[in-house]
């Protein structure tokens, strides 16, 4: 029993007869960045889905803030989900193409019952400002933003849930190299300000070295000693 923020033990994910994640264990402490590194197809994204409980793992434990998630029913899980937010690789794919940025950022507040018309819009503007987006961009649709701006909007949306852990699934690998540094700096600043913990999925060692406190590496579904 550790007091880590996220404690994953012997995680197993299978698709039919294929074992994508084979007894993977790691911990993420509060305010820390753990990089999960590895080539494509090694089971990183399956690990992310299982940690977020978007796909129930076939075995193992996922302990978050001291609570075991794998045994919880979907209904019991729902109030805990906001504390652990994903940021996906495809900046456009993670936002609904039909909703304005403002509405996408406000949606977590509405879903989680924290929205009120008086100060809601100001909260959304503050979130956009915090990720370095002009609040005027709130009127736009995702396809009217650049990839980097979209990824910032996605981060703003994740922050709206007031999480303690962000699961960053290759958040910059779809972006231009010139934009990457900006988004990575933003993430560093947010960690300093808000004390966020990051599980940072990546396959670029150079980025890992600059960004992460610790790194682990996966190959063919297993952890290899880093």
């Amino acid at each position: 029993m550790s007091d880590a923020l996220l404690d994953v033990r012997d995680l197993v994910v299978r698709y039919g007869t294929v074992t994508a994640v084979d007894h993977v264990s790691f911990t993420v402490d509060a305010g820390e960045t753990l990089a999960l590194n590895g080539p494509s197809g090694c089971g990183k994204s399956s690990t992310v889905a299982a940690v977020l409980q978007l796909r129930r793992p076939e075995g193992g434990e996922v302990r978050f803030e001291g609570r075991e998630l794998t045994t919880l029913a979907e209904r019991e899980l729902r109030p805990l989900r906001p504390r652990m937010q994903p940021v996906f690789q495809d900046p456009y794919g993670s936002l609904s193409p039909r909703h304005r940025i403002r509405d996408a950022v406000a949606e977590p507040l509405k879903v989680q019952g924290r929205w009120n018309p008086a100060d809601g819009p100001a909260r959304v503007a503050e979130l956009l400002d915090r990720v370095g987006l002009d609040p005027a961009y709130g009127d736009r649709f995702p396809h009217e933003l650049s990839g980097g701006q979209c990824q910032r909007a996605g981060i703003a949306r994740a922050l709206a849930s007031e999480p303690r852990l962000l699961v960053l699934d290759e958040p910059v690998s779809a972006l231009d190299p010139s934009i990457r540094a900006g988004v990575l700096n933003l993430l560093t600043d947010l960690q300093d300000e808000l004390g966020l913990a990051y599980l940072f999925i990546c396959h670029d060692r150079a980025v890992v070295r600059h960004f992460a406190d610790r790194a682990i590496e996966m190959r063919a579904g297993r952890l290899v000693t880093a």
Binding site: G16, L52, L54, R78, P79, L80, R81, P82, M84, Q85, P86, F88, D90, G93, S94, L95, S96, P97, R98, E107, P108, V111, Q112, R157, S161
Partner: protein, 598 residues
Amino acid sequence: MKPVVRKSVSQAGLTRFVCLIAVLATVGLLPWLSGRDPALTVLRARSAEQEATPEALAAIREDLGLDAGPLSLLGDWASGLLRGDLGTSWVSGTDVLPSVVSGVQVSLGLMGAAFAVAVLLACALVAPVLVRGRGSTGAFAAMLAAVPEFLLATVALLVCGVWLGWLPTSGWAGPEYMVLPAIALGVPAGGLLGRLVADALPAVLDERWVELWRGAGVSRARVSAAALRRVLPPLVPQFGMAAVGLTGGAVAVETVFAVPGIGRTALGAAKSQDLPLLQGSVLALLALGLVAGALAALGRRRLLGPALRDAGLTLPAAHPVRAHPAVPLILAVVLMVTIGWGLLRDPYTVDTTARLLPPSWAHPLGTDGLGRDVLARLGHGAASTVGTAAAVCAFSLLLSLALGFLPGVAAGAADIANALPPVIVGILVAAAAGPGTGGAALAVALISWPALSAHAAALVQEVRASMFLTAQRAIGASPLWILTRHVLPSVAAPVTRHAILRLPGIALALAALGFLGLGAQPPAPEWGLLLDESRAYVERAPWAALAPAVALALLAGLAVSGAAYAQGRTGGRRTGEAGRARITKEEASVEVAVRADV
């Protein structure tokens, strides 16, 4: 993924089976469903002298098994069916089976001839594309595909039979009697097939292998043959649907040309409430449709071979005819002006001194056999037809949105609905509930949803698979929130647009039922009914028949050009291979839907 696929396939198979049984049970239960007491009819038919005493009537009821209740009625019918006994006609008192067999023989001959016409026409439409290497058949084939059989039959009868006197127009006494019915039945099917192939060919001829083959000196004929073989597999199921359409079209064409085929037998039996004969002939028509569909499925499997099993195929992208927006716009304006003008006039006043007048200032489109104003009847007819069609559209929209979330159930039921032409469903509904606008609307509604629900299912699948829905779950959104805020809004808008596009096609289907006397009843001014009523006077007053015929042709043009225009727009906006393949399927379904409605 595999187990999921298998599950939905078997679910589709199960629903298909259940729907088939439901249709068969409906046919078997017709005498009970219709709720009418046939004892007197049967008594009169069996012996004119016998007194209609309560005892005699009761004896007949017992003889027919009507008192025994629905289950035993169904059981008797089914066991008779298995022994090859279709029962005895209530009207003529003779066995049903021989009438059905002779009707099927005539109809098969007619359908064979019609199929030959269709293939010839399709070849004529495809040949220029193969020779030129690109381009499409354009609006001409689209119009041919959209004209309903009953309209074509009436016009062919009028022009070739009556005015020019070239060919016999009624009966079935020799090969020359086959020409006009076969053309009327075959041309719409040929237009559809030719257009589907011709639209798909240019994309295939643009593929890399064609260049390679030509560079290697392969003859033009062999390249053409290979290109055709590449185009055909995805279209074969639609050939099957066209064949099913032939069974529905046969009812109208056989009625117009007085051909003693199975379609006319079925319609006559429905009108005279001769339910055993109706059951037998509807069963025969259903069997024809199902066999055609099964043959098409088999043909597709043979053509594709192992590529189908390994999912190793890429669909050639279709280049649909991009209609100029002016075409549907002009058609719509012409129709609306005519309808608006007609609505201001009185459609019911009978003036026997003004019968069958030619067009004049007082009656811009002349008068009909009872001296009623044709323009007024056209306008009022459109209002009621379009109103009914809109209600049918709304119903299929709601049904398909619901079924979009149950793709397994929908696929099985859609297979059966696709195998039923609206005319046959119309006959069944009319036999059970009596002919009327409501029954016709129900009949069209029952089978007009598959294309919409296939579209809805594809969209639901696409939305559900998208990353942003996963992101919704991650913020703790409930399934209800995700459904109402994200899934439904992305599905409802495009499916609604699709439903509106199908409005003219549905109106044509309603008109076809009205024409056959299965829909609106006189003196209601319904377009199909107008055409039917004016047929009796075509020699003296051709304008009375021409007005609804032209209006229906305009409606058909509107159906096709509107659909083509909308497809052109959606096709242009999307990018990405998957999106293109899906749109292709969607377009094909719109196309077939327009056709199948008629």
